[in-house]
């Protein structure tokens, strides 16, 4: 009896209920969208590093983000290699440079990584196979997720990078994040690209440890051994630093974070507005029931059941529209925008709690007043 009263309250005026649900549904979509964008900032932070096989890193004390890494003398790499826990050290060079589309001649800024072609920097099949071929001079690998305006990406295409002509010998898949493109070259090619910079300063030192070695312990020992012009970090410390840059130190991170706050506030107000209107529209009916002798608990149960149905039914389309937005955003930008189970659960619970809370709050007027006054 109770359940069907809640349902019948909702279906009594289908159009009004649908419009009300539309408000809450779009609030859910908005929250999903802002959370999705915000989460993308931390996802792109480690896209490149996640493709590389290392346990700890050496960086300059000026390290900001991989494209602004600063540099340190490579002698530190040899020092580090002497540590018993270290299996191998692999230099990583990184910078931004200018790529020219061979067809349209338009130039775009891209991210370039340089590695020693004989180092096993990656265990991903495409990179494992292609990186050794980079020891041929003036060759380059291109991320197939780079923006289309960089031009044709097939092996054999020659593109001008800075002042040099590089031949594409293959493609890999990582994701350039917010950059227009990502390419990988051999260290000799990298040195020629940045104007003859000697390879004895390194941007990032990737270190693979021997099996069984404890990364935190090796980091501590290396930091003590090595001079102050280099920092040692575990992989997770690097991830935290890189993520922090993207989330806190970029305009986008700050704005998306703000967007989440606005969306939460939005959700609270809209949900309260909709649910409290639902209850106050029927206040005289609830008052009648109370005058007839039904308890406050009984009335609260009706409102709660109504709120739950409301929350669930308005959540579902909101979720699917959000999936659509993720798809559109992701396919237009090649950014890794995706839904997570945690996010779905969190938004669902938040929506449910807000709906129930709002409904019950509106009902409180009933508890305090004499039913007759409500007419």
């Amino acid at each position: 009896m109770k359940a069907s009263l809640a349902v019948r309250n909702l279906t009594h005026n289908k159009v009004r209920t649908l419009v009300a649900m539309g408000g809450v549904c779009f609030g859910v979509t908005l929250l999903f969208m802002q959370l999705g964008f915000f989460a993308t900032m931390s996802k792109i932070a480690m896209l490149a590093y996640d493709a590389l096989d290392f346990d700890i890193v050496l960086t300059s004390p000026n390290y900001v983000v991989v494209t602004q890494a600063g540099s340190f003398p490579s002698a530190n790499m040899y020092e580090a290699r002497a540590h018993p826990g270290v299996e191998r050290v692999m230099p990583l060079y990184a910078t931004r440079h200018i790529w020219q589309n061979p067809v349209t001649r338009i130039r775009r800024p891209i991210e370039i990584l340089g590695v020693n072609p004989s180092d096993p920097v990656s265990r991903r099949p495409d990179l494992e196979r292609l990186v050794p071929v980079l020891d041929r001079p003036d060759t380059v690998l291109i991320d197939r997720l780079s923006r289309a305006e960089l031009g044709p990406q097939e092996a054999g295409v020659v593109a001008q990078v800075g002042a040099r002509n590089l031949k594409i010998i293959g493609q890999f898949t990582i994701g350039p994040g917010f950059e227009a493109g990502l390419v990988i070259v051999g260290d000799q090619t990298f040195a020629r690209l940045v104007g003859g910079r000697p390879l004895d300063t390194v941007n990032v030192g990737l270190i693979k440890l021997k099996p069984g070695a404890d990364p935190a312990q090796v980091v501590e020992e290396l930091q003590r051994r090595l001079p102050a012009d280099v920092r040692v970090l575990t992989r997770s410390e690097l991830a935290a630093k890189e993520t922090r840059y993207w989330v806190v130190n970029t305009a986008m991170g700050v704005i998306f974070g703000c967007g989440v706050l606005v969306a939460v506030l939005f959700g609270i107000v809209i949900t309260y507005q909709v649910l409290s209107l639902e209850v106050s529209n029927r206040l005289s009916e609830y008052a009648t029931l109370k005058a007839l002798g039904f308890t406050d608990v009984y009335l609260a149960a009706i409102v709660l059941k109504q709120a739950v149905i409301f929350a669930v039914v308005s959540f579902i389309p909101g979720y699917f529209i959000a999936l659509g937005i993720y798809y559109v955003g992701g396919s237009m930008t090649n950014l890794p925008i995706g839904m997570t189970v945690g996010r779905v659960t969190g938004v669902f619970i938040l929506n449910l709690v807000l709906c129930c809370f709002s409904g019950l709050l509106a009902l409180r007027i009933l508890r305090r007043a004499d039913p007759v006054d409500l007419f």
């Binding site: 005026n13 009004r16 419009v19 009300a20 539309g22 408000g23 779009f26 609030g27 979509t29 908005l30 969208m33 802002q34 964008f37 993308t40 004390p61 000026n62 900001v64 602004q68 600063g70 931004r96 440079h97 200018i98 001649r105 338009i106 130039r107 775009r108 800024p109 923006r147 305006e149 002042a163 994040g177 917010f178 227009a180 104007g195 130190n249 305009a251 986008m252 700050v254 704005i255 703000c258 967007g259 606005v262 506030l265 939005f266 107000v269 809209i270 309260y272 507005q273 909709v274 409290s276 209107l277 106050s280 529209n281 937005i325 559109v328 955003g329 237009m332 930008t333 090649n334 950014l335």
Partner: protein, 387 residues
Amino acid sequence: MRIPPRAPLGLRILMHAPRRLLVSVAGIMLAIVLMFSQSGFRNGVLDSQAELIERLNGELIIVGRLKSLWYVEEPFPSRRLYQARTCPGVQNVYPLYLETSRAVWHNTVDNSTRAVRVIAYNPDDPVIDVPEVHAYAAALKMPDTVLFDEKARDLFGRPQAGTQTELSRRKITVVGTFRLGTDILTDANLIMSDRNFAKFFPAPYQRTHLDEVTAGIVKLAPGAKAETVKRQLTRDLPDDVKVLTKPELVEMEMTYWRENTATGIIFGLGMAVGFAVGIVICYQVLYSSVSSYLPQFATLKAMGFSDAYLVGVVLQQALFLSILGFIPALAAVQGLFMVVGNLTGLLLFLTVGRIAFIFVLTVAMCMVSGIIAVRRVVQADPAEVFR
């Protein structure tokens, strides 16, 4: 709550239930804040990218033929500027030099280094609308001096006049500050003289200093028409350069960011969804508000009031709710822009045009949904509403 007896009926209906009114106004207000903030952030990215261009003191700009975004320099021979000066209608052409890839600033406070953008020109030339350069012209002509952008992000340790540090590994002294603003790719701007620029950033490939410029700022003679001079210059100059009007250059930069970057696309998506959600919420608030009073409207109709009168009352409500929500929303958005603008260094501002657009959109949506809600009374037999 005492309501003046001669107040319009629409307003009296709204004020009859003050708590409900407050909640409805809050809903409208948030919808408006959403639309302003999403479009404001997107516009902020575009406006910030174009800010330096907007401040150029010329009607036409000469750039390299392949120039498609401001960040990629595309230098061309400075000889082109001498050729351009001979064109009729041209009062003067000023060289502008920019450097982004090789410019690295050393922050003495925390010993960090960061990329900066260096803007250089002859301090006597009125190239950019930055009044401080003229004031510091004499100091800027001294060797190894620079002005620093006050609006740079805090990560630079707030250099002041007198700060001594290194730029790209050469000693440099800050002689003053100016105000410009950052953008997505630039965390700080520096202004220096062209002579200093030649020393700090010698042209690669063994050419002599200042042989290549990033842009030529063309100041037209009084009475000259921009389009005419542009056509003439395009004919006169070889095709390793192109001539654009300032609005065209701004549009080129904005188009790149709006359509060709992940940043612009995501912000654009956020803006579109923000508008969609904002509009739906306005619709929903008005619809529920009017719907809860349908019995009263039906009674009025049964009493003999015309349909036009009822629609008029609803339109009044739409207008009142929109205005009541709009004013606090504007205040909230201004506050939000100030905070986020300070945190990010982006240019976030409201213009009359943008305010008017969102206001009209809000009112229109509220009115449309109010009319749809009251249709039941207008079209049907009023007694139906009471069933």
